[in-house]
């Protein structure tokens, strides 16, 4: 490792051959088999990237295992963040129907609306029914009738329910 750090490229293959099995064994003791290989390879690449900074007075194996331990920790943090932030499993189990509270509120609103509609004139009711069904008779007067009917509905609703 000292020779590699000083720029001796002939030391590359011996260091690679010595490190790879050691890092794989180290990582496989701490992570599941599925990701141990990937993490070991990423750690090996990191070790070589930082080889130029290796201090010749330090122990090469401890230094390499220190970098690998950091990669293991990073992998664990990433896995934990993935399991915390993903809502898809929860959404798949959620009930799409409205809750009992929502159903009660909807029923109350429907009842209140029927009360208010009962106070409107027949022409206004007919206009609002046509509007609700998406039917629009020809002529300029229908638009005016819709505006007046909605204004009377708002006034009746405000006087009853505030």
């Amino acid at each position: 490792m000292t020779r590699l750090a000083s720029g001796d490229r002939s030391a590359f293959h011996p260091v690679f051959d010595a490190l790879l099995p050691v890092l794989k064994r180290f990582v496989s003791r701490q992570l599941a088999e599925a990701e141990a290989d990937d993490v070991a390879q990423a750690a090996l690449l990191k070790v070589f990237e930082r080889a130029a900074d290796f201090d010749p007075d330090a122990d090469a194996l401890s230094w390499a295992l220190g970098i690998t331990a950091w990669q293991v920790r990073t992998s664990r943090c990433r896995a934990q963040r993935r399991s915390e932030s993903s809502l898809e499993p929860a959404l798949a189990l959620a009930d799409a129907r409205p809750s009992p509270e929502d159903a009660l509120i909807f029923a109350d609103l429907e009842h209140a609306l029927h009360e208010v509609l009962g106070e409107l004139k027949p022409l206004d009711l007919e206009t609002l029914h046509l509007l609700a069904r998406g039917e629009r008779p020809r002529g300029p007067t229908f638009r005016k009738r819709v505006e007046r009917s909605l204004a009377r509905l708002r006034t009746a609703w405000s006087s009853r329910h505030g």
Partner: protein, 175 residues
Amino acid sequence: MDDTSLRAAARRSYEKGRLAAALRSTWFLPPLLAFSLWGCGQPIATCAAGAGALVLAVFLEWRGEAYSRARRAGLLAGLVPFALPLFARACGHPCGPGECTAFLGLAAMGGLVAGVGVGLSATSRSAAALGLLLAALVGSLGCALAGVMGLAAMAGALLVTSIPVYLLAHARRPA
């Protein structure tokens, strides 16, 4: 990744890391360049020499081994011809750039000292040559003050001292 791909990727990471470390190691060159621009008043020559010194220093450090040692020797040795004229200027010497024999003398003196330094520390001919070039480029950042003659005097002094010192040092080393 299979073994071949992983080996290639590891080699690329290694070279990338060496290059990044080499770039970081030249942090002090920009301040030298700035000082030279202030002191010498020769922006084109200064920038050209500075760029050359930066590229060469990065290459030598990346290459490593004897080249890295030659880089260190070249940088240290080059500081002498760099500093002498600029120091004289900073102390209030009245001459302008290219006008003074005193600067010429200082440039030559700096080149002599730098040549001895590079000749003593180099361990291979190619590394020695590149270390010498680096010393000349760094020295020229200060010797630009002495004009073209000053640069020539520094370069000449570098060569005149470094070659015999290197040969003598190598003759004394055991085979």
